[in-house]
Symmetry: D3
Subunit: 238 residues, 6 copies
């Protein structure tokens, strides 16, 4: 029995509110249960110097968490003067995941920055971020394409992410904070809507895991990502 | 005529959503028109070492702005490795304003940290922060008092803040971003519900201002703060 | 009775020694009683990149305090690796105040940096800095004008600043450290020689203050600034 | 055909020189072909404050790369003033991997720090670091056990890591720098000598990968880690 | 012929103004010609944690330069967020030099911090700092001894420093900025009043130097330091 | 009797392994007994902006120490976020010493960076670094000259460094860690193969030293550097 009463392969309620931000070129408030992340996509028509003149664009991500997004207050990274290793690891993962489905040549010499800020955390903030970032990116690219008729769509495929883990000996989908805190194995999967894998990260928190477990977690992830893909389509009006 | 069509002494719509955060001891999402700030109050039952043993508590504030809260993306302070002078100035002002109405002795040896994070900005983020912080603080203190029967209320008075300025030669109340950008004089007032002033900051952006102007801005501020005081009472169920 | 024996509207002795620094284009050692600040004005004929090509110049300020300018030694900001919020707040105020009386177009594409370093502190270091900075700026601009015949004077008006406060229930002028430490209300006024206000900052340290008090402090500030204006004229040989 | 002429499932020559450092409690210079990493294990008999009094120890890791370990010189992290996201990600992975096979209770209130410094880089520095760190840790623990007769061995199992990837359409084992630079999929596996997985990280550098590919890379990793386990035993005289 | 018209073995005018600072336990404004350094000695009756309980005290130094102490403005170290290598090298030298003549056991569990801040620079700031620091330290220790009758004097000997160099092929004493800028060899000597050497630092700026040159520079340094010793005695009323 | 059993004028065994690094343009692993430093020379054909267009090149150095190069682990400078004063002092000395024997005009608009990383420390790391850096620089310049026929040799002379000190009252050559720890006087000499001095740094750790002692240490340094010069020639195949 999961603490939340969910079935092993049951996701939390997903909600994706497109256009949440008044200023950003694309945005999405994504909720996986009590985990709420605001993602904005900011388009800049110029690249930073080291990316210029190569005939292609760039997609990058930054990640942050409000100090009291969590059960107890964490210190503010801006006040401490540096981003933690965890923060950097997550924002690198988000950027990689979105670039994996973006045709940077087709994007042209533009940079899109995806800011993923966790308003409230209850496990799975990095996977919610990736999932919501696709919506914000899609909306921003829709805007670029509307302003540039004839431009090829640089975002042919969807990407989504979900966490799975072994809790109380049982593989379960979409861990919340309580499950995450004492999961035996913890895995994040980033999958594309065309069925491929973009990133797999599995970590034994306690005893090592075996191949069978990895594959069962992957199977759960496919179920979960399908839900996310549907929510993304709905949020972007497709 | 103001860009927004408002009368000179007309506030934007104020909305205060108490308990917005699932985890914080007190919280408030405060909206002054398109300016949205999430304030959380975090209670710690121990003080930092330099405040211990004096028989009184502490109230402090931190301020941040999501990178794309603004019209164009600003860089993330955590990534730059330091808080700007503007950020520090604002969070010092918020802390001072709330301490001005808190009886720190009555609070006891506890620290309450008010995190004010701007989700969306359209002028007046510091005054919205102070106004919302009172709600979050009030709710947090309600919780402490409920758990400590017989404790005296450390928060006898309300505090609110509003910006006023001279726009197009005319003193106006509650500047939005467009007005703020070319205001001749810009002033922030922090007032208490008992009629006193806690902080006055007036700056000539163009030509110097005179005493008459300062007093007219103060009169507008009294009008605006009365609206805020009412919204605070409603949000805290008083 | 004030601790120093001064009358409520009595300034400390003001001394302004122009040309104190052998190297700077303009300089002034300003003394308000035991508060001593060395201000230098450094002229650079090129602007930083972000200010170039707009046909106007820039005036900026930096502020620092020697570690043992104060009663007990403070730590050195260069050693700690960052400027405090207080330092940044003060240097922003100084820069704003001097820009308020400088015609940046008339200045031409030049930057003048005003370094205000507190050699000894006894209250009122920010107001002494602003007051002395006008002298250093005036001397630097005199030099620029001498080298550029026909150039319009970018500095038509004087600016000065003074602190006032309520001490022992009585509004007093030009607070020293002892008065500042237990002032009920503390205010800084930045005024121009043409009678206008450039900046007003008033803070309730204890009980909130009322309009009457604010106006009485302003009246004291006018008295004090007139003394400073006279000292500035004498120091710049006008 | 691989650039190095190796067979798809062929490792580079592994060399593990135990006791390379004169001062460290355990050490190992590990070479995977032209990738050379010096690992030292430093034992401290006291824990940092936040780990004390829980009756168990801690194993942590730090990672660095000499500026000219690589083909072109990289800037020195100490001079830049911060560790890159990549560095932090790697050192977190190393620490997690070694803790996964260490019984921290049995270790007692001690901290062992594993410093992994890349002397020369040719791909696979993180996996060589983990593999060599086990040797350094084993030797350090041997020393602790020798000085504490009757102490239970906190390190019952071996842990090793290897990178695999898809190069030119073919899954290959133990990528060198040339292969790594244009691998389609890149994966790191951390395995235990008892057959379990501790960490799996697979990333699509180009097109997404499928389950079959993931499993073929895992099979190669098992082959490679078996070689590493043998080298570890030899280096530690078992 | 030296640019200043001085004889090869002629010092600049030395001035040492004791008690320049109103707050410090000891202080001295030292002038070597146009080089002016304010040195304060701050006594703390407690040691930092890592020095406690060893029955002896500590003397340490910090060094800084006002941004416009030099011909062209240098950036402020506090604003840059770090002290330069040059600054650290100098403050380490000052601390070492003063500790060399202080009996730390006799000082008792106290720390004295010598802040050397260059108000104006014209060559030789580090040697002026050391020379002036002795005066500030002497005055501070006089105060400690006055308050602790029977305490042994921890400062039996004087220490002074001077720079010498080869200018235009000729060894000269007490280099000013113009000489320093194109000196062939540049040396700093720290000598005690009992005739010993505490520190010698000689650097070939152009061609290497020989033993004969080193000894001639040393001879000049002895002449110069004798002048400094006399000025120190006068400044401390001995 | 020295702790190592060496005669007062006896060096430790010197070993210089040229070409130790596979990637650097020049490199040397230098061993002075148990002190091991890896030096790499990295050639960049472009100068940093502030050195361009002056028709000459630049030689610079960086220094680091692996955390467990020493008897007890030191913290990693990259993790602490800054280089210590000691590190900066040493790398400035290395750079200066090598530039003293390099004709920067003849080098042309190139920069050579000498990275000196201490793999294992047993006293004298800065002097070993300078001595090994000459070998790495020589090899890198040999490569540049081979690719640029007719280019004049920018490195006409050798430079080497050695530490000497007074241990147990006796001047001794090439201090190891034990001797260094309680040396009365500690001196580093940087000498050229043509007999000149480039840098002398002598410090009294206890009692001040006299001229006779300085000269005796210099005499020892000449003996030691001659050994180093011979090892350098051998390592560079001359």
């Amino acid at each position: 029995m999961r603490p939340s009463g969910r079935a092993p392969d049951q996701m939390r309620t997903i909600e994706m509110i497109p256009g949440f931000s008044a200023h950003a070129e694309g945005s999405c408030l994504v909720k996986f249960g009590q985990t709420h992340v605001l993602v904005t996509a900011s388009v800049e028509e110029r690249l930073p110097p080291w990316l210029r003149g190569k005939g292609s664009g760039w997609v990058t991500a930054e990640y942050g968490m409000l100090p009291r997004a969590t059960h107890t207050r964490g210190s503010r990274e801006a006040a401490k003067g540096k981003q933690s290793g965890r923060t950097q690891e997550i924002q690198r993962l988000i950027g990689r995941s979105l670039r994996a489905v973006t045709d940077l040549k087709a994007l042209g010499e533009r940079q899109i920055t995806l800011d993923c800020d966790v308003i409230q955390a209850d496990g799975g903030t990095r996977t919610a971020s990736i999932s919501g970032a696709w919506v914000a990116l899609r909306l921003a690219i829709d805007g670029i394409m509307a302003a540039n008729p004839g431009m090829a769509d640089p975002l042919a495929t969807q990407v989504a992410a979900i966490s799975c883990g072994v809790h109380d000996g049982q593989p379960v989908l979409d861990l919340d904070y309580i499950e995450d805190s004492d999961a035996g194995t913890d895995a994040n999967f980033v999958l594309t809507s065309s069925g491929g894998m973009v990133e797999v990260q599995a970590t034994a928190e306690g005893a090592p895991f075996d191949e069978e477990t990895l594959l069962r977690l992957l199977r759960l992830a496919r179920i979960g990502c399908n839900d996310v893909f549907a929510a993304q389509l709905k949020a972007t009006g497709r």
